[in-house]
Subunit: 475 residues, 3 copies
């Protein structure tokens, strides 16, 4: 499941003999590693002529056909623009090339293995080494693989920064010709930020993941105390095996339901904020914490879906568990030996079947929400379709899952034995947020509130009307 | 699960200081809402200079860095092309700008909240307000989000229409530079059609959804009458709790199987039509209803998959249902009390296990069909690979699911008690279409018919041979 | 689930009246089939003027609005470049057009129905027919559908080959303007290779599929012999019904676990090779078989996931099987009649629940790996994120699944009755490869080995240090 060796194989099977027009400018690449070769091949395909600079031009391994390798000095003199595909640790030899590199554009594509490994950014260090050159930081967020295969959805953007506007323009032109979208991030002082980009590990997942871990830990200990410690203290019975499946299958649905509800809570808070303020623009924007929360709703939802899926699997293996089979067999035996006859209870059948049905339908819609948030699927939807699925179907999912939990509880809240050590059960705690969200959403669906909100969102202002035009912008 | 607030955050974190070449033309944007700002930023990134027109140029909120806001009058005089990112309700103030806008290209990007809200299209209304300007309807199918993030699979196309070919050409050039594919839809009278585009809600899903709802409703009532009403009338027993799971789990697989078969029926009808007519081109095309049907096969198949998934989940929860546990326990107890010994029946074991195996394999292939119709997966397949999966694997899926249903029925059709009130069971009805499809497909696979069909599809004509060349076009 | 008829419907509903600038060159298309019409429409949208050559210009069916059809002779004289959208079988009539086609660029887009149908490639045959023209093979890997909808992820590349560099350049320019990425494959002798491309059927899946079929067949017969033949010989009992579910559900997890481990084995072999050689580049590259193996890891993993999913479904239906219900009921009855009381065994409960829990968590991560290898998802990940999921999570999945299997076995390996006919059980065989992989991976994670490997991968050489710079290329 890895593309690491694509380059080598492509190199062998594709043999591109691109014939560039002679008037195309020559670009120079220092370094003949994977990235350098991929970049060279891509430049070649886009019509540039490419020359490699290498300390050992005759033994630097396979290069893209149509390119040559010479010494660093010769290559540098050849071209106005040099790509540096070398590790930062080897930059020092460049100092000797300072005369040849003077006035040239140096494109620093390097990355580091860790954040804050060096006191200054690679590109700034390079600029200090060769003050006469125009250093531009660019292309470092791309992998050799992305270069090989051409820009695709998420690999379309090339960030660049540098002190010379002209140098940046020339790099931007090359990037555009290679099919990338260019985003200028300002002067070379932004280089550190750009070098940290590829080291990010799911930044937008951090908050939702922490929340998920926190909720799971809390409810796990809560259920262990109520389900295992209590039983042990009360009846001196060792129930600890329940941790693996029974307790897990209580924690997962609880966390899932709370996180699903937390997806929809910020939208409702925002709506009430807007209603209270009377305008969308009055104090400019939502508070930061709300913005932050809104931005991670997709991740919250997908994590909730993962927990729900685990809940489904844990539920479906119930009947093949040793414990369950033992208990069912024991109950059948006890019925016979004690000669009791249990009467079929239609209410129990109705309740149980409704409970399962709500759960399955809720999970079905859940899966639908998950599928529609796959990049290729959400791209294929119109804005109205996407918001229909995520909003209407989302609330329907929440409704089904909440009903599923209420049906699970049924009349259990009436019995004192439920409140072990005076604590409510986990499922009761899990119902708080979704119930609040659903009630508030129902309130917002009242015609009067709904109308006011729509007007506010379209730019209507409570007090002034003279600046109505400015406010009535498309959103 | 919403991208609504992406713009604000991007705006804050990205700070693009793009340095446009000075010779780039100036474009004007009226309106500083989300759409206007996203459009401005994107234009800026593509090298244009942008000026905003605003009634309050000094307090219009955060604009993309590198742009300025002036009065509407000044902005309009500046640029030859003006984007109107204002709601239709506020168009009237433009009348006062008629002199400044004379001869300019006005790009109307507006949409309405509902269809048929106004007697004429927004763009036509705008043209009537400022007859001297060249109004072009464009970009309205894009969201601010699509503009922000650049064109991706489904957001690549920009539709435009207008009365001036020159004005359209200049807008098309901008769209192309922004990375979009332009589709010209003719004169301004097409504006209404374009304005209705973003209001569409799954138009291609409508027919399959209606069919699914219709089939579900029919079989639900059919099964309720046979399973609950009949039992009540016949034995005075209240079975109503069966609605939630038992009846649902009969209806879902029935609907799923019929809809899967309906995916493949039009292809077979088309093949027989071609065989009958002897040529693909004789009377031009297939009848409209067949074209319509063929176009919604993907949606039919995905809905069938959804129903099949529900069937799987409803089946897997069977052993944890109260009703099922009660019955199993009761049957064990009755065996003991009546001292009966049941003998293990190998045929039943074979039949049952084959039945489940067929179902699982059929569902596995079903899932594979579903995955291969995800946009990003089907894009990665060659034409031959895609048609292999959708056709060969599709028929295999249908075969497995049909066998699964036959094994479910087994010899039940022989017993008179099956035909309550002289009606066949639901599963028998569900077998009609798939059986017909599979038999006809087998017929089409006979060498003689297969050869003829291949020849017809490659352009061979029964009667004439002089125009063979024209007919032998690549398909 | 087919896009076959998209063209017709698009043609009817879209009516693009593109107004091309008059200075655009005229291109000629011979053939008015689906491909010819799609190509024409796309060229039109990109600003070219298009003329069709047809033997019956007045009755050749619906053409894209804005194009005309004339005779082949007239059309050929019109344009410098002719697209041939005709089947090879009809090429012979072109000989009569040799004078008009002299010096023109002929683009051969044709494909064959089978490999090796003709002694020479279509494009070479065409060149032989009209020696005066410059034949370029191109666009044949695209479908009419890809042309219609514009380039997307996997349909972005256009391969071309031909003997005239100039002719290739002009075709490459058109392809680039249509939004495609051009890959030049050399002279016309590469045409055969290009014509074979669209006929490929999952070439990268072939090896993994063969492996899966081989493993499945081996373990199936192995389990049939141990589970059914042995029982029949030993106890004269017919267990054959177990083939459908019980045996299948032993074979699937075994094959899945082995194939998952085989995904990670080549990476480990490569690491030890690098450690042994002391440098990544010493002898150039990895041996071919290792490269081959590495390239099909994604497919191995996805097949392993498919087998794991079947295992999950087969496991979940266990409690509804006739055989299982019969056995449970029989065991309950025998307990009562023999008046035995079985004591609840906490160790069994712990073991069983841990076994299921490991399995479910392993399967959850498995699914995650599968989702992250969907093209649109993996495109949205940064390189570090992708390798985190595929490597870290991948080993975690392997660990969970291996533990799941060990817990399944538990102390069974101690009992002589396990070794029927002195053979080990299937699950023991399945544990060999994953255990080896996990132990070796643990070894590689030892700080000393890990450090050395990192240094080697960053270009450090054991012996020489003078050429350290050249080796220290970005990878």
């Amino acid at each position: 499941m890895c593309f690491f060796f694509n380059f080598i194989s492509n190199c062998i099977t594709q043999k591109p003999h691109r014939v560039p027009a002679p008037e195309q400018p020559v670009l120079c690449i220092f370094g003949t590693g994977d990235f350098g070769r991929s970049l060279g091949q891509r430049l070649l395909q886009s019509g540039y002529r490419v020359v490699y600079g290498s300390r050992r031009p005759h033994s630097c391994g396979p290069l893209p056909p149509g390119t040559q390798a010479t010494s660093h000095e010769a290559a540098a003199q050849f071209a106005k623009l040099v790509f540096l595909c070398i590790h930062r640790e080897n930059y020092d030899f460049l100092e000797t090339l300072a005369p040849q590199l003077k006035g040239k554009v140096l494109v620093d594509v390097s990355n580091n293995l860790k954040k804050n490994l060096y006191p200054e950014a690679n590109a700034e260090y390079l600029q200090r080494l060769i003050p006469g050159a125009h250093v531009v930081k660019a292309f470092n967020t791309l992998s050799a693989w992305a270069l090989q295969n051409g820009p695709s959805d998420a690999n379309r953007q090339v960030y660049l920064c540098g002190n010379s506007a002209e140098a940046k323009q020339s790099v931007a032109e090359i990037a555009a010709k290679l099919g990338f979208t260019v985003l200028d991030r300002g002067s070379l002082s932004a280089a550190r930020e750009l070098e940290d980009f590829p080291l990010q590990l799911f930044p937008e997942w951090r908050l939702p993941l922490r929340l998920a871990v926190g909720l799971t830990a809390f409810f796990f200990f809560y259920e262990v105390i109520r389900g295992i410690v209590y039983t042990y203290v009360d009846q001196k019975k060792d129930n600890s095996f329940r941790i693996m499946v029974s307790i897990a299958n209580k924690v997962f649905p609880i966390v899932s339901l709370i996180m699903l509800a937390l997806c929809y809570l910020p939208g409702i808070i925002a709506a009430f904020l807007q209603l209270y303020r009377g305008t969308k623009y009055k104090s400019g924007r939502f508070p930061d914490w709300l913005d932050q929360w809104m931005l991670c709703r997709k991740q919250l939802g997908l994590l909730a879906l993962a927990f729900a899926s685990l809940h489904v699997l844990y539920t479906l293996i119930i009947p093949i568990r040793y414990y369950v089979r033992y208990r069912i067999s024991a109950s059948t035996i006890s019925k016979i030996t004690e000669n009791k006859t249990s009467v079929f209870d239609t209410t129990s059948a109705w309740r149980g079947d409704s409970y399962y049905s709500m759960g399955i339908l809720g999970f079905g819609f859940y899966i639908l929400l998950g599928i529609s948030s796959l990049p290729s699927v959400s791209n294929a939807l119109s804005w109205r379709e996407f918001s229909f699925i995520q909003s209407k179907l989302g609330y329907l999912t929440l409704l089904f899952c909440t009903l599923h939990t209420y049906l699970y509880g049924w009349d259990r809240f009436l019995y004192p034995s439920t409140y072990k050590w005076y604590t409510p059960t986990g499922y009761m705690l899990s119902l708080i947020v979704p119930t609040v969200v659903l009630v508030l959403k129902l309130l917002l669906m009242l015609p009067c509130l709904d109308r006011t909100l729509t007007r506010i969102r379209r730019g209507w202002e409570k007090s002034s009307s003279e600046n109505a035009i400015e406010k009535a912008l498309l959103t």
